[in-house]
Amino acid sequence: MPGAATAPPEGHLPPAPPAAQAGPLPPPGGRGADGASRGGAPARPEGETGLLAGGSFYECDASQPRRLERAMADLGTGLRRWRLAFALAWLDIRNRYRGSVIGPLWLTLSTAIMVVGLGVLYAALFKLPLVQFLPFVAVSLILWNMINQIVSEACGSLIAAEGIIRQLTLPYTTHVLRCVLRNIGVAAHSLPIILVVFAFCGTWPGLGGLMALPGLLLLVLNSFAVAMLLGMVCARFRDIAPIVASVMQIAFFLSPVLWKPELLGRHAVWLPLNPAYTLMETMRGPLLGEPVSTLVWLSAVSFTVLACAASFAFFVRFRGRIAFWV
């Protein structure tokens, strides 16, 4: 008899709270409850919605989940508190190389070895001069590594934060942002290689290289969307992560990373359907001083919009379930 035994001593109750709140609650599903519970809140600070725990009040009604508002509040709070995500991402990178002598320089070094090794090999295979081919391989591989890293770590963006999710009330956005920032940090370690290769081969994109920045923005937006979507899907279905890993492996060979898109000949018309390629190309083209076709841009932007929309829809619908999934 849970209902019968819930009469707290009268003396402990607050004297006379606003009638709109203190009265018996309307039956679940009653549309009127929404207005009443939000309207009669004189003591609540301006702008506070109570949709997320952490403020001065918190309200959650299973019959009126207000999912969209909650998801927006989560995104807003998480992005506003980017310093936390940044600190966590920074600790992640630091901890990964704890006790190692050259530390994160291993990231730079291993990428450099791969760029030089594959550059020399494929220049010979394709019978291209090294100084012409090396900048292409360097930029391609580094961008591909970045995309590949982000996609594979996206699968664990929420599972990895399990310990925090189940104990502390934080916006889920924070965990996703942490994953994205960590990967940006890791990728930034490869930038010197591009500069060294450019200097060695005597190529320089000039001011046109700045056109890579919009591409970078697209990539970051996509990373966030993918980290959120895959983070959620992989938390629920644990088989997705290995599938994603093998898809990315195939995508590496199917995308013009080591080979130039021109080599496809008349089949090259299908390339804009490959999001990994178009996203990579919006940055690679400007860096190598090559023109990027409108079609590639169009494809990259469309895929970004699609990824963001899918991810946002998923987040709105299933945000409340994440704590049960991880």
């Binding site: 849970p2 707290p8 918190y58």
Partner: protein, 243 residues
């Protein structure tokens, strides 16, 4: 005015990562009490079932019950970690939860770094974090060990740090699990004083515990949970008499 209001509050955990089919056969063949299948034909554990209670300003509530009765789940739900699957929950007043002291601690970072990180977890500003650092520094008594990675701490030192970090905030609604009952005697004396201070400062305390002495000493009311339902709810002495 702090207040907690729960109306037909229910939490169900779907069992995702078990062989649902064979489990389903097994549990449904016996008259299962808390495992059942939901509308989507999943096996779910009913962690909390139709809880109804109001906790008003000034109340100190002990959550009693066996392991698995739903005490920690209820605390986590009140803290906003689990969203109710059914029913409604309203918490008025800033929530402070002492549920797991070590959550969010980075083992490779130093004590000092962890304190600043905790400040970020709470959403404090730079200046507030520095104030917190000073407070934790003096209360934990860890001294030079604050500059050593937390990984090297003993269990007791870890507890000191976690306790100090958890209790510098002064929330209106305090949710507490009973982890704080470990630690060396000298620290426990100080810890009890500090907790008593916090408990008196808070407008509402919800304490999940097995320790009936603590419950009697600190609480005015008890909610006895059994298998996710409220078995008894009332003044502490009355509930303890039948416990």
């Amino acid at each position: 005015m702090a207040r907690i209001l729960a109306e037909r509050l229910s939490i169900e955990f779907p069992l995702y990562h078990v062989g649902a089919r064979s489990l389903k056969k097994r549990v449904l063949s016996q008259a299962a009490r808390r495992l059942r299948t939901d509308a989507a034909n999943r096996v779910v554990v009913s962690a909390l079932r139709d809880l109804e209670f109001t906790i008003g300003h000034g109340e100190r509530v002990a959550l009693l019950g066996h392991n698995g009765a739903g005490k920690t789940t209820l605390l986590r739900t009140l803290a906003g970690i689990y969203e109710p699957v059914g029913g409604r929950l309203l918490v008025e007043g800033e929530i402070g939860s002492l549920i797991d002291p070590a959550a969010g601690t980075d083992m490779d970072a130093t004590g000092r770094e962890n304190i600043l990180l905790r400040g970020l977890f709470r959403g404090l500003s730079e200046a507030e974090s520095q104030t917190m650092l000073a407070q934790v520094e003096s209360f934990s008594g860890l001294g030079e060990f604050l500059d050593v990675p937390v990984r090297t701490y003993s269990t007791g030192m870890m507890l000191r740090l976690a306790f100090a970090m958890a209790t510098v905030a002064e929330p209106k609604v305090m949710l507490m699990d009973e982890w704080f009952l470990a630690g060396d005697a000298d620290f426990m004396r100080r810890a009890r004083d500090r907790l008593a201070e916090l408990v008196h400062g808070a407008e509402i305390l919800v304490l999940a515990t097995h320790n009936l002495d603590i419950a009697r000493q600190w609480c005015t009311r008890a909610i006895h949970l059994e298998a996710g339902r409220i078995k008894a709810d009332g003044p502490i002495d009355a509930v303890l008499a039948n416990y």
